[in-house]
Symmetry: D2
Subunit: 356 residues, 4 copies
Amino acid sequence: MGNKLLMKGNEAMGEAAIRIGCRAYFCYPITPQSEIAEYLSKRMPEVGGVFLQGEAENAVAYMLFGAAAAGVRVFTSSSSPGISLMAEAMSYLAAAELPVVIVNVMRNGPGLGGILPAQSDYFQATKGAGHGDYHFIVLAPSSVQESVDLMAEAFHVAERHRNPVLIAVDGMIGQMMEPVELPPEDAETSRFIPGHEDWATTGCGQRKPHLVKTLFLNPAEGMLHNEKLAAKYQRICRSEVRYEEVDTDQDMDVLLVSFGTMARICRTAMEELTRRGLKVGLFRPISLYPFPLHPLRALAPRARQVVSVEMSMGQMIEDVERAVLGQSPVRFFGKAGGIVPSPEEVIEGIWALSKE
Amino acid sequence: MGNKLLMKGNEAMGEAAIRIGCRAYFCYPITPQSEIAEYLSKRMPEVGGVFLQGEAENAVAYMLFGAAAAGVRVFTSSSSPGISLMAEAMSYLAAAELPVVIVNVMRNGPGLGGILPAQSDYFQATKGAGHGDYHFIVLAPSSVQESVDLMAEAFHVAERHRNPVLIAVDGMIGQMMEPVELPPEDAETSRFIPGHEDWATTGCGQRKPHLVKTLFLNPAEGMLHNEKLAAKYQRICRSEVRYEEVDTDQDMDVLLVSFGTMARICRTAMEELTRRGLKVGLFRPISLYPFPLHPLRALAPRARQVVSVEMSMGQMIEDVERAVLGQSPVRFFGKAGGIVPSPEEVIEGIWALSKE
Amino acid sequence: MGNKLLMKGNEAMGEAAIRIGCRAYFCYPITPQSEIAEYLSKRMPEVGGVFLQGEAENAVAYMLFGAAAAGVRVFTSSSSPGISLMAEAMSYLAAAELPVVIVNVMRNGPGLGGILPAQSDYFQATKGAGHGDYHFIVLAPSSVQESVDLMAEAFHVAERHRNPVLIAVDGMIGQMMEPVELPPEDAETSRFIPGHEDWATTGCGQRKPHLVKTLFLNPAEGMLHNEKLAAKYQRICRSEVRYEEVDTDQDMDVLLVSFGTMARICRTAMEELTRRGLKVGLFRPISLYPFPLHPLRALAPRARQVVSVEMSMGQMIEDVERAVLGQSPVRFFGKAGGIVPSPEEVIEGIWALSKE
Amino acid sequence: MGNKLLMKGNEAMGEAAIRIGCRAYFCYPITPQSEIAEYLSKRMPEVGGVFLQGEAENAVAYMLFGAAAAGVRVFTSSSSPGISLMAEAMSYLAAAELPVVIVNVMRNGPGLGGILPAQSDYFQATKGAGHGDYHFIVLAPSSVQESVDLMAEAFHVAERHRNPVLIAVDGMIGQMMEPVELPPEDAETSRFIPGHEDWATTGCGQRKPHLVKTLFLNPAEGMLHNEKLAAKYQRICRSEVRYEEVDTDQDMDVLLVSFGTMARICRTAMEELTRRGLKVGLFRPISLYPFPLHPLRALAPRARQVVSVEMSMGQMIEDVERAVLGQSPVRFFGKAGGIVPSPEEVIEGIWALSKE
């Protein structure tokens, strides 16, 4: 194993993108993700890359569209309200099958809200900020190391399926410092999307012109395009499910379902709950879309109850219900608005639910 | 009963808003909802109201914020990509508890898509285009008359809960002409939101200043605000569920779940399916949020299978699954991209599913 | 003398800026100057410079403000309507004494006009598009070589006086190919403005903070600032006057006053007019601001008449009148709207005037 | 004659526009002209007119274009930096021959400057903020009553020549209260431009379509359009010259040339200068474009010296020089940056110049 560096999550994600070969980053500043922009404003020029601050989030998202349509690896980062401003473009990016990466360092909302960590953009990320039938692949790391690993992975997954990927992280991971092992600087990485020669608009010269578009005025064409996208989403649901299980090889009093920072807190809480004699397991979705429906469904019969633990007011719980399908009761524990629950609060909350 | 007028759905919705007392309409043009704007550009001045075309959808949505924060009844209309451009503002409107009405005359997507009817903004409407924990109340009429009735109702529901309402309609209803009975012109209607004196920023004079805001930097305040909103959404889930059942007082081979234009087509298809000997019922959600989970859950055991019939690639089916909770198999029939399924296609599709 | 390259005027100006050390170019596309942008979009990255397309001309001009306020050499180019969109910023740039360079490849107007060569932004360039008492130094080359030389000179002049410089050229020079000698690539050139350490906002560290501003709410300060600027403009009028005289060492029947492309056409016309027995001289302002008032005033008594020859409807003639001050009659010959007068037209026009 | 009302200049100009029949006012707020907007935001609805705040000055100017192209009387007001932001549109308005009225309540510049009175947009107003060969007619009142009279006159002059008119006033007149006689409310006034039926785009029905445009890609057409405009400007120079002379029927030691507020101060100063034995006359241009060249040229031989007295650093002096043409020395007295010279300063300044 290589050397570890002590880095902030935000900076580590920026560096990981560079290591993977990405040389284009466009952004508009917003707290609590500005360290990514700040880091890359210095780092991109050092590696011959492009750092560009657009005039607004909507513009940035369409700059991503332009760069990716020309075959270039590109990403952006923002935070909740900034992501909302990209809603229209997100639908366009998915419709045009452009493998871009967008990082959402989630803050608390709704509205202007505040700048503290949150997970309440779960719906927006997984069900779709924008209009029409489309999906982003959504990945949710729960440590600085995992955010680095998933950043690198995000580009590969996006490119494998020609589909945008959203990394849903929260300000706690973004601003936490942890020792981290970065991907090696690979001489073979490229600033271009592998295989872009087959579809990107790079100047056609002698070949047939390529067209990257989302307009289908002919309804038959529009239907075919939607069916093509739907088939892709089914492939993604089969091949890109990611999750982690902890202490689930037992009959459980409580099965916690939680992701990101909240899952970390759950692991701490589990120790005390176990000490009190409760049999507790943890199911941690890493891919929020595709949600690991079947693995969770398989576990559900062995849990007396399932609790969705969120830093939101109850969003992932809907997918948990769809997974559990009535096999055991599904309950909710969560908070939103800027207050990250402490392990003690989680312990007492779960303890109380387990006694119902 | 009064006289009926033959009107297009789009125009009828515009007139209904005026009858209910709304005197402010802001918009940005987009097909297929432009008849609403065109109609109101002439009609608003006649009744001393304000018609204003903003410079972009995002601006329009914040003009709604401004007007409603000043206590004024106001609404806008747009179509799928235009609604996406309001995503950030929609989160702000809900966060600030402003009782505005937004009409989405859905067109097919994703991306630029086309201008034909669709229902594929179901996720966006019900789960949230914007960031943070918030909900719009979402109403889905299936005829011109119902779009008129729900337009009037939308303002009352919005004002009762101080929560935005989205009317999800499609271009077919918007552009169809049907005989329609409009609400009477009530001398008592007001251009102001009832009770706005208690919270709107109308110039404080001698009283304590009012504040309409969405920023809560103090996390304890932010949490309280989210809990207040969550409690409201629970009240809404108890009191604002709307749906229609057809032929559900029997044991059913198939229970169709469908809304809007698609539900109309289902009713035509049911006649032929019944003639073929199939026992078919229809459950039509009128409120998409709150989704009528419990009424549908109660019906599920009496249906051998449940089919979600959509003009999208499978969105409402997730709520149907959460309602049915494994009591009977849930299947999908639908299309997207601009092609509205014909009754014949629905008949054959359901017939085939029923034989599985 | 070094090797000459055959280059378009637009490209040659771009390359000259790079040779002089400029590493930042911001722009928004408009015909007929787009070759500058196209050339630099490739060239800037090769030399580690920044090429950036802004969202609109107004934004570009304020990006220049930002870069120059941070001590960076920077320039932009546009064409007539695009320059108008920078009018507010031009006043700010001069007020803040920022040594930026703006190239106007003039097209015919007014309004949208067309894309053919013109000189009808003379007033805008010399009297001031923006508000308040301010001046740009304005330089007008009449060949590709001179446009290269003045481009290099522009940065030095701007930096010497900490004052913006506008290069007024027309599409004919911009798109004409001529052999051109470029400035050598000087190892000593810098991407920073010489002496910027004394005033630029580069991060203050231990030193006193610098402030680059144009707001003077205190009227005494505002007056002092205007007097400081006025004193600078007087210094510029003494030291930066540039012009060329041809055949003026004789008593003249006609003294032509003309700049840029029009002056080239005049030189061709002079040959035939001389052959016809007319004594013709040419006075060519190279600096339009400061206008060479005194050199022209000194020549006026020796000319039976003075003719301002312009590719506009009569703009420079006002400065010619102020120079000549009634010592001899001042007449006008010119055209606008896209038609560049041919030498034959000029010959006949001047011939006719000389017979009056 | 009728009753006089005590009104602020800004409000009085707004009311005068209404009395003359104007029912459309678009604006973007800026000090020191906001009283016009405030007044009309209440007054326009009372008379069935349109008050509209645009999203930026550039947008407002193009809203004027749209309204006037549809045959509607319309005006806006702004202050120096706001006028600069209209520079492009001003060129388009003149090119399209649209008879709109723009009021510039001048503040001190350049750049952000301050909010105190100034006359330093003289160049911008008279020589042209925008690109290409075009002219606004520019009127400069020197009292509240005159600003009312010229406001009414502005619409008539604009419509007579189908040419935009700019009223150049300063914050002193705009905010000063004086008794004022308003034009009567004429039953015959119209919200439409007289004769617009012949050219405006009002929906063509049976007649040949009208076209309001500024694009002339064919150079011959472009030239004809410029010649048509030039011929109009010559007509304007013959017929729209306005000025006032005071004590000019004598041989003068000093002839002051001054406009607006500064001319008022000059009149006060003249009394003391006369008491000291100096023979002083005043020439006050009321139309800044066309500048009263010939009337001033005729007076010049009778003055031992001519002094251009300005609240700027020397702008109108260029037109004074062109008028005087060396017949007597032209000197300058002025200040800029927010300090309005007191009568005492003017007295001492002129006294000192007269002794040179």
